[in-house]
């Protein structure tokens, strides 16, 4: 870890990469990622609020009754307001009933089932989100969650139906296979970045496509599918490899949720308490400083994406072994990209990611009932997600909407602003410039961090 003498990590490729526009872009990226992890909780909560408001407008816009009452708005405005209120109440209450507690259900079992459904949906989101979060904390934008999930799900599923082993061993082996599958996929990007300086964003995106087509090819091979039919759908995972159900039949909640909790604790320990985690964060804050401090940047960079891939792979494995049981072409859905949302929303912190995973899982679970009962298009849920990300990615926007003080706690200097309009535009860009200055001069990264808070 702390090699002395000339750094082996400083290969010619590395040094040349650190100069010129590439280095600048990379530096900017890691700063942006760091900023993201320091957004305040308030901004996160308010982003969700803004998203719900935007969602409300869209729900109203898409509703025919509301459109009808809008056509005579000036003749009888109360009609419009009443229908709008009704429609919104129905939509959001069914979203809640589908995600948390259904007070209109026919039985107690059915009433509490929504919360467990939320947990089911959140399992792969949390696990993959943790993987993405580790990348963010280490200054790496891992877009490859999708590919890593596919590889994890594919290996876990295949081991799940191709082998026949005793119950406990089988499921553990399948899970391990999932982790390894994802880790290999993440590792390819990690090693390429560490050894050659390849941009991890591009590599992971390309690996996503490779994973999709690899799976499509596998689903045409009889040795892989083991079904005898020519539909692109694999055989079912053996019972011995399925994650056991936590609440018995009638519920889909499975042991994967416990795995998600354990993984959250593990990631917390890894990032906050372990030496490796310290190295991860150090290269995220400032790779140059980390190198100077004697950290093997090459190794740590590769390791970040291996661990991230492993977590995403575990997410895919839990998805297949816990709920899906079969591998199909769309096994990963949009999980890999939703996981990025989860990590952003959770501010790249383990607990935050866990809670964000639950929130998005809830939106998914609730969306099902909202759509079935009120006819509100499921796309609204996607819009909610998208608006949340948009807001989180632009904290100054949220602060402006809600007249909040600046991120660093200093008052909004409106008057000063007016007096000296040429003083570097908004407050945010000013603080960004100071960040730039400190980072460029190579001083200890912790000071920048504090200044940003």
């Amino acid at each position: 870890m702390t090699d002395s003498g000339p750094q082996p990590g400083t290969s010619p490729a590395q040094t040349s990469k650190q100069e010129g526009p590439w280095a600048e872009a990379e530096g900017r990226l890691s700063r942006a990622l760091r900023d993201l992890s320091q957004t305040s909780w308030l901004v996160t909560v308010l982003s969700v609020v803004v998203a719900l408001v935007v969602g409300a407008v869209l729900i109203l816009g898409a509703n025919e009754e509301v459109q009808g009452s809008l056509s005579y708005f000036f003749a009888q405005p109360t009609d419009f307001l009443e229908t709008s209120f009704q429609v919104l109440r129905e939509a959001y209450s069914s979203l809640f009933r589908g995600a948390v507690f259904d007070w209109q259900a026919s039985s107690v079992e059915r009433a509490i089932r929504p919360l467990t459904e939320t947990m089911v949906y959140s399992v792969p989101l949390i696990l993959a989100g943790l993987g993405i979060a580790i990348g963010f904390r280490s200054g790496m934008l891992n877009i490859g969650g999708q590919g890593q999930i596919i590889l994890g799900a594919t290996s876990a599923g295949f081991l799940g139906y191709a082998l026949s082993l005793p119950a406990g061993l089988h499921v553990l082996l399948a899970l391990a296979g999932g982790i390894i599958g994802g880790a290999i996929w993440g590792g390819i990007a990690g090693v390429l970045k560490a050894r050659t300086g390849a941009n991890e964003v591009i590599v992971t995106i390309m690996l996503n496509n490779i994973a999709i087509y690899l799976l499509a090819w596998l689903l045409k091979q009889d040795w892989f599918k083991q079904t005898g039919s020519n539909q692109p759908l694999s055989s079912s995972v053996d019972e011995s490899a399925q994650l056991f159900s936590l609440l018995g039949s009638g519920f889909r909640i499975h042991a994967g949720f416990l795995i998600a909790i354990l993984a959250t604790v593990f990631v917390w320990w890894l990032l906050e308490r372990s030496t490796i985690g310290f190295e991860f964060r150090a290269i995220g804050e400032n790779p140059e400083a980390a190198r100077t401090a004697g950290i093997n940047v090459t190794k740590a960079t590769a390791l970040v994406l291996i661990v991230a891939g492993g977590l995403a792979g575990l997410g895919g494995a839990a998805h297949v072994l816990g709920t899906e049981y079969r591998i199909a072409g769309g096994i990963a859905g949009s999980l890999g990209f939703d996981a990025i949302t989860v990590a952003l929303l959770g501010r790249s912190k383990p607990l935050g990611t866990f809670l964000a995973g639950l929130l998005l899982g809830g939106l998914r679970a609730g969306g099902v009932l909202m759509q079935a009962q009120t006819g509100t298009p499921i796309d609204i849920v996607l819009v909610l997600q998208a608006v949340i990300v948009l807001m989180i990615a632009a904290p100054p926007l949220v602060r402006t909407i809600f007249f909040l003080p600046r991120a660093d706690g200093r008052p909004r200097l409106k008057k000063k602003h007016r007096r000296r309009p040429q003083a570097a535009g908004t407050d945010e860009s000013a603080s960004r410039e100071s960040t730039l200055a400190t980072a460029d001069s190579g001083s200890a990264p912790t000071t920048t961090q504090e200044a940003d808070k």
Partner: protein
Amino acid sequence: MKRSFKTSGAFAVTAAAALVLSSCGEAPEEESEGGDAAAAEEVDYKACVVSDEGGWDDRSFNQSAYEGLQMAIDEIGIQHAEAQSTAESEYAPNVDTMVQQDCDLVFGVGFLLEEGLRLAAESNEDTNFALIDSYFNEEELEGELENGKPLVFNTGEAAYLAGYVAAAMTETGTVGTWGGIQIPSVTVFMDGYADGVDRYNEDNDGDVELVGWDKEEQSGTFSGDFSDQTQGGEVTEQLLSQGADIVMPVAGNAGVGAGPVLEDADAKMIWVDSDGYESTDFPDIMLTSVMKEIGQSVYATIEEGVAGEFTSEPYVGTLENDGVGLAPFHDFEDEVPSEVQDAIEQLRQEIIDGETVVESENAPS
């Protein structure tokens, strides 16, 4: 640049004005309830549909199924609920939610919903289920499924006719086809098409070549998904460069990408699933279409359900029961020689009578 801003500004103002003006209408009379005499009387029967990832606007089987449901709503007056799936993990929950919504009949569109529907059917004996485009997996069934009806289509039969027409109409001596993804419900079209071309060659000592699909090898050209129209255009370009002048894309929405490319090349198109003369923007180049009457079968199944005559007997769409068919030639009516039209009619009859069997390992069995 500036100009476009101005235009969009003007547009926004106009739109806003239109909105305000349209809001000045009069409030409807209170007694409007129940006044919709035009609508069919309400029937106490609830039919529900769950889409696959394609969504209701896929210009393919989800859309056809949805249209069938709409027709039943308008004409029979049933209640309904619908769920659009955006990911595979939503299939089972969507089906389950439909059951909880007290649906009498739940449709699942696509073979991917097979498992979800089968499990729901086994545990909810009072609800009926219909699976579009796939049979239920018998190996995994415990006993007979009394409340599950598969609706499948032997599209190979109609594609056979399309292949014959294409071979008869080509000027370059080469026709083409390509698919979205290599799955049986796609390749069954391509198999039938290939056989139709062969049949033409056999009957007329022809030498028409098919590019894009090899039935023996079961390999051919695929764009990779059902949505990417750019990719669809590129794949079509490839086939054109191999000399094809009539192309049949079997790729849902991605097939739309073939339209502009074929238009530019002055080539013709054969559409699938619905009548492309009406459902696409390229009626001018639409030679014919291989139709799969999903909407009709959905409507018929609902009708049976309302009458209390639902059975688990599979519905197989064939040329005989008009579940599949060849669309009219529309603008090409005069260009298709009458002997070809007669030959088609004769082939149709042969297939119905069983004299000609369209064989495909991808056909529903």
